[in-house]
Symmetry: D2
Subunit: 374 residues, 4 copies
C-alpha cells in the first residue's frame, strides 16, 4: 500500500510530505526531484512567486546513501517567502476559491487561514511524492508525461505524433505544448488576458506509457483504476473535469466505431490499432497507453477583481487580490503527472507486492511471462 | 465513516450489498429501494434482461420494524436468471469490456468469470446502497437527481429550467431527458443504431440540491469532495469522463466570466447568481447546487460484433455476443445518483458525526446556525 | 488488500459476510466452511442455542465451480431462530454487555436492538471469512490452530508438546484442551458454575505455523503484525487481553533469558531454539510459530442475574436473562483462529501481491529462495 | 478522521510527523509538546542517548498564532546525533529486535538500515502527535495518564489510590511509579541488571479519565474501541501484551464477581462501583475510566550480548551492541499515553464530527444532554 500525507502553508515555513510504502532498494536521484519541482514552476503566464521561489527538496528520511530502505520517505521544501504571520487579514473572499466555504466550514475569522493551505503551492509536496513514484515506475519501464492541449480556447493538434515526439516537443515548450503554432496563439491569448487583469484555463493530457495490462480491477467500485486516477487528478486545484481516451466525444459516436478492436501478434501479444478507450477497459489497464485529459478553470485570483461580499460587514466589495498567475495549465500538467504516477505506482505495488525493488521486479517479470504464455 | 461492499455475479444467485455506518433511527421505506431499482431498469434502448428481471430488494439486517438500529444494513436482490453455471465459455473477448484484461490479470481460462462480475448488473447493489443514502439525505432536505443531456450526439437544452422542472420532466421521460424534442430525436438515433446492431453513448447530469456549504475539504488531496465524487461516478461501468459546472468549456473562457460572484442577502446568507463552478469551490460545497456531468461510452457489447482474437488460438475472431442494450444512459444516470448520494451522505456523516439521526440532525442544525451567524 | 464486512442480528434472518480481495484460482471446499462453523458451536458449557442452530453457509458469489474468480465472496448463514420481531423489549441492561452503552450511543429505546448485533452470534460471519482465509493459507503450507489453556483458573500444561500433538489432542477434546487432566477439572468448574447460575472465562492460545519471515513491518505503527493481530483478536466479544509468546511473564524476567538466540543451519536457514517472542520481532514474523494468547472474561449473561438499573424508570432491577452459555472459551479459540487467519492472509496478500493463487505462489517461492540465498 | 504518518531514523536528520484531521480553533501550547517529549526521555535506567538528545519539536504547519487552522499539523524534532552515514555496518543481528527479519524482508545487506527505523526513537513522532491529541481531549475534560505497575517482577500496589493520587505520585517518580516502596526495589533490580549487562521489562498502565459513554462500537469488528486501543498500544516497540481492567485475572474468576453492576444516581446518571471491565463494554466506553495495561519485554540490546549468527558468513557470533537502556518501561508508559490519546481523539472526532473545536464541543454537549435525558 502506497500512501502519503502533505503539510504546509503557502507562506509558512515549508511544504513537506511523508510517503509510506516505497520498496527498499530504489535509487533516489535528488536532482530528479528538483527537476520535477522546476518543471512545476515554469510555464508562460506564471506570476511573480515563481521568480521568488527556487524549490529544492531535502530528503529527511527513508533514504540511506541514495537508496531507499523501505522506511517512510519524508521530504521538505522550504519556502523563501515565509511571511504568513505578517500578511493582511482577508475578509473579501475570492469567487472561485476556497475562501468563503473554508471560513464557514472551519469557523475562521480570516480567510488567510484558508487560502494559505488551499493554495496550489501545496502541490510542491505532491510533486516530490510524484518524483519518487516516477523513479519507481522507471524500474519497470513505465513513463508518465503530460502536455497542454488547450489554453484559452486554442486547441493544439498532435494527431499523428507519437509519445516520444509529443514529450520531446512539449518539454521544450514554455507552454508544455507540442503544437508550436497553437502555442504561439496561446501566448497571444495569455498576453491579452494579462493586459486586462484576466486569467485563462485550459486542458492538459497525461499519458502513461508502459503499464502492464491488469492494473486496477472491476471487482469492487473503488478498485477501478480510472476511478482512482480521476480522483487523483480531480484533486488538483482548479481542475473541473477529467476524461479518458476520446472522452466526451464518446457521447456522439457509435459503438462500432469507438471500441478498440483486439489483435494478436506473436511477438507483442494482444494489442490494438486504436486507443479510443485511453488504455482502460473494465477499470483496468489493457496494455495500451493510459491517456487522460483534465480541464483546468481560469485562475480565480484576478488582478481585476470580481464582486464579492465582506465576511464581517456582508457589504458588497471587490475580492481581495493576491499575487497570482495568468495561466498555470502547463504546471497543472506536471502536477497531473505526479498524481498519476503515484496512482500507477500504488497499483503496481498492490498487484506485485514486494518489499524491495528486486522482489517487485521479479514478481513483475513472472507476471509478464504468465501474460505472454496465456 | 460510511463504507460498503457489494458482491454477486450477473447470472449468479443474487447481487448483494453490506453498508456500514448508517446512523440509527432512520426510517427505511422498502418501497423506496425498489423504486430506485425500477428506475435503474427503465430507459428507451434497454435490452431483454430488463424484461426478465423485476428487481426487489430484501433487507437482511440492520433494520428493525423499518427503523435502522446502527448495525450494518445488508440487502440482497435475487437474480431471476441464475444460469451462470450453464452459460458457454467465452474465449472471444469483446473490445471495450473487461474481458481480455480480466483474463490476463486473474489468470482465468474463461472470460465468463470476468464478465459476470464486470457486468453493470453489479450496480443493482450500488442502487440499493444509494437508496439508503438518499433516505438519510432526505432527513436534511438534500435531494439527488439526474437527467440525460446527450445521447448519440443529440443535445438536450434545459437552460432556464429549474431543478424541480428538470426532474419532473426527466422523471416522466423514458430517456430521463427533460427536453422532449431532443428526446424524440434521441429515440430515432437509438432506433437507427438498433437496426444496424450498433450502440450509443451519451451524457447524464447529476444534481445535488440542498447540501450545506463546507462538505469536503482542501486540506488534503483525498478529502476534496469533487475528487471523491469523480471517483464515485467514474467507477460506474462505461463512464469515461466527469466534469463539474460548465466543465470542459472552462478551457475556452476567461476568469472574469466564469467565476461565480459572491452576494449576500440577510435572509439566505451568502449566495451566487451563477453556478459555473457546479457548486464546488476549493474541493468543498459552496451552498449552491452541486452539478456534475458524466459521459458514458456506447455499450461495448454489439450485435454486430467487433473484431477480436481468440484467447486460446490467438486467431482473429468476432467478439462474443452477449444479451445487452442499445443505450443505457438513463440507467447510468440513476446509478450516478446513487453513487453521488453515497458520497454526500458519507461527507455529511464525517462532518456532523452522530450515531443516530436525532444526534446528526441536532449537530447539523447547530452548524447551520453557526454559518448564518458568522 | 483483504477486507470484509459482516451483517446480521442474532435472531434476525441471517448472518452474512462479504470478503473482498481473495485471489482467483483458490479451491473452495464448502464442507470446510461448515466444518469451521461446527467447530465454533461445540464446547463443554455451551447453551441451548447451540442445539437449535446447525449453521451451514451458502456461498452466494465469487466462486464458480468451486473455484474463486477474484470477485467478492459473499456468504450467508441462515438463522433457524428468526424471532427478532417478537422478542421482548429489554430495559434492564446486563452488566458486562453492550446493552447500556449501546442504548446511550445510538439513542435507542430498547436494548434488544443493541444486543442482537453485539451478540457473539455475529462471529458466524467471521468464521466463514476465516475459513476462506485458512484455505488460502493452506496453499502456502500455513496452518492456524487454537487450544484452551485455562478455564476458571485451571491451567492446562502443554510444555513439551509439539504443534501437531497439541492440535490433535485439542481437536478431540470438548474443551479444545490438550491437557486432558486439566480438562477434567475444567469441566468440574463449569458444572459447578452452571449449578449456581454463574459463568466462567479462560484463556485460549492461537498458533500460526508456517508463516515466512517478514510479514508485517516496523516502518509505520499500523503495519506491525502483532498490533494488527491484537486488534483482530481483541475485537472478539468478551476478549479482554492478548499477548504474544510468554506474554506478561516478560515483566518478571531478564533480557538475557527471554530473547531467542539466533542460530543458523545450512538446510533450514536462520532459526531459534526457543520461542519466547511468540514468533514476532520488530512487528514482523521471524519464521518461528506465531503464538498468541487471549483472555476471555466470564460470559456476562448470568442465570443468576446481576444488579442493574432500568433504563426508563432508573430504578434498581435485576438484569435481563437471555439464553446463553456457561463457558465459551473453546468457541472463542475457534473464532480467534479465524481472525488470526484473516490477518495473516491479508499480510501475505500485501507482501506477495498477485491476483491468482498461481501468481501469489510464484511470488512467494521467489521470496523464499531470496531469503535462503541471503 | 484522524490520521498520521511519521518518518525519520534514529541517527538520521530528524523524526517528523504529519497529523491530519485536527479541528480548527485548538490552542497549541508548544511547551506542552516539549513537556511530553521530556517525559518520554526520563526514567531510571535510561541510557546515554537520553543525555545527548534534548528533544524540542518545531511545528511546521497547521498552526497560525498558536491556533490550529484545520490544516495538517507537521512537527519535526531534530536529532542531535545525526551520524547515520558513518555508523558501522551491522551484520550480527540482535535477538529480540527487527534486525534479522528486517533484512530478509527488505532484502538489505546491512541491518543498520533496519534498526535505524525500528528503533524506539521513532516514538518521538508519536509523542508529538499524542501531545496534540491530549490538547484536543482537554477541551472535553478528558485526561490520559500512565504509571508503572511492574518492573523486573516487582509489583506496585496502588489499590485504594484514586486517579489524581496515582498520577501525582507517578509524575514525581523517576520510574513513573506511584508506589514508592516498590519503586525503590525496582531501582535495585535495575541496578543489578545494569551491573551484569542485562535488561529488564515491566508493565505500565494507561488510564483515560472523562471519556463519555459510547465511543467505539460493536457493530463491526474494526470499530471496537478496545480492539483499536490494543492495536495502538501493541504497536509500541517491545510491547508484547495488552489487557483491560483486571485483564488476565478474568480467566480465574466467576462472572458473578467480575461484572460491574449498574447503578443510577440522579446527578451523575448511570454509574458503577467497580471497574473490572476497565471502562469498556461491548467495544465501547461505558463512562467509567478506561484502564489498560501493557507488558514490555526486557530491552533486546544487551551489553552482555546474546548469541547470534552473522548474516554473511552464517557463523556463530555475539550480537552487535548498540547504545541502549537497561529499562525503559516508564518511557513506554508515556508513549502509551500518546497512542491512547490519539485513539480516543479519533473516536471523539468520528462520533462528534465538527471541523472546529467550537462545533465539536457544541455537538459533544448536545450528546451529553441526550444521554442524561434518556
Amino acid at each position: 500500500m502506497l500512501r502519503y500525507l502533505t503539510g504546509g502553508e503557502s507562506h509558512g515555513k515549508c511544504i513537506l510530505a511523508v510517503m509510506d510504502g516505497v520498496p527498499a532498494g530504489l535509487h533516489i536521484y535528488k536532482s530528479s526531484i528538483d527537476k520535477e519541482l522546476a518543471r512545476r514552476m515554469v510555464g508562460y503566464g506564471r506570476g511573480k512567486r515563481m521568480q521568488i521561489e527556487a524549490d529544492k527538496a531535502e530528503v529527511l528520511s527513508g533514504v540511506r546513501k541514495n537508496i531507499t530502505i523501505g522506511s517512510p520517505i519524508a521530504m521538505i521544501v522550504e519556502n523563501k517567502d515565509q511571511s504568513i504571520d505578517s500578511l493582511p487579514v482577508v475578509l473579501d473572499p475570492r469567487p472561485g476559491h476556497a475562501d468563503l466555504a473554508g471560513i464557514l466550514k472551519y469557523d475562521l475569522k480570516d480567510a488567510r487561514s484558508v487560502l494559505e493551505r488551499a493554495s496550489a503551492r501545496e502541490t510542491v509536496g505532491r510533486v516530490c511524492i510524484g518524483a519518487i513514484a516516477k523513479m519507481l515506475l522507471a524500474e519497470f519501464g513505465i513513463r508518465v508525461m503530460s502536455h497542454v492541449i488547450m489554453v484559452g480556447g486554442i486547441e493544439a493538434r498532435t494527431k499523428g505524433l507519437g509519445f516520444n515526439q509529443i514529450i520531446t516537443l512539449a518539454e521544450k515548450s514554455d507552454l508544455r505544448c507540442a503544437d508550436y503554432k497553437a502555442a504561439a496563439r496561446m501566448r497571444e491569448e495569455i498576453d491579452a488576458a494579462a493586459k486586462t487583469g484576466d486569467t485563462l484555463g485550459g486542458i492538459f493530457e497525461v499519458i502513461i506509457k508502459g503499464a502492464p495490462p491488469g492494473l486496477g480491477s472491476y471487482v469492487q467500485w473503488d478498485k477501478r483504476l480510472d476511478a482512482n486516477l480521476s480522483r487523483a487528478i480531480m484533486s488538483i486545484q482548479a481542475v473541473k473535469g477529467v476524461s479518458f481516451g476520446i472522452g466526451f466525444k464518446l457521447a456522439e459516436r457509435k459503438g462500432s466505431i469507438v471500441h478498440d478492436e483486439i489483435l494478436y501478434d506473436g511477438k507483442i501479444g494482444f494489442y490494438r490499432k486504436t486507443n479510443n478507450a485511453g488504455g482502460i477497459e473494465g477499470g483496468m489497464t489493457n496494455g495500451e497507453d493510459v491517456v487522460m485529459q483534465a480541464v483546468m478553470k481560469p485562475i480565480a485570483t484576478l488582478k481585476k477583481p470580481l464582486a464579492s461580499a465582506n465576511i464581517k460587514t456582508k457589504r458588497p466589495v471587490k475580492a481581495v487580490v493576491e499575487r497570482s498567475d495568468v495561466c498555470a495549465v502547463p504546471a497543472a500538467g506536471v502536477i497531473g503527472e505526479s498524481m498519476a504516477a503515484v496512482e500507477i505506482a500504488g497499483a503496481m505495488i498492490e498487484k506485485f507486492g514486494g518489499d524491495s525493488v528486486t522482489e517487485m521486479v521479479r514478481n513483475y517479470e513472472g507476471y509478464l511471462k504468465q501474460v505472454k504464455e496465456i
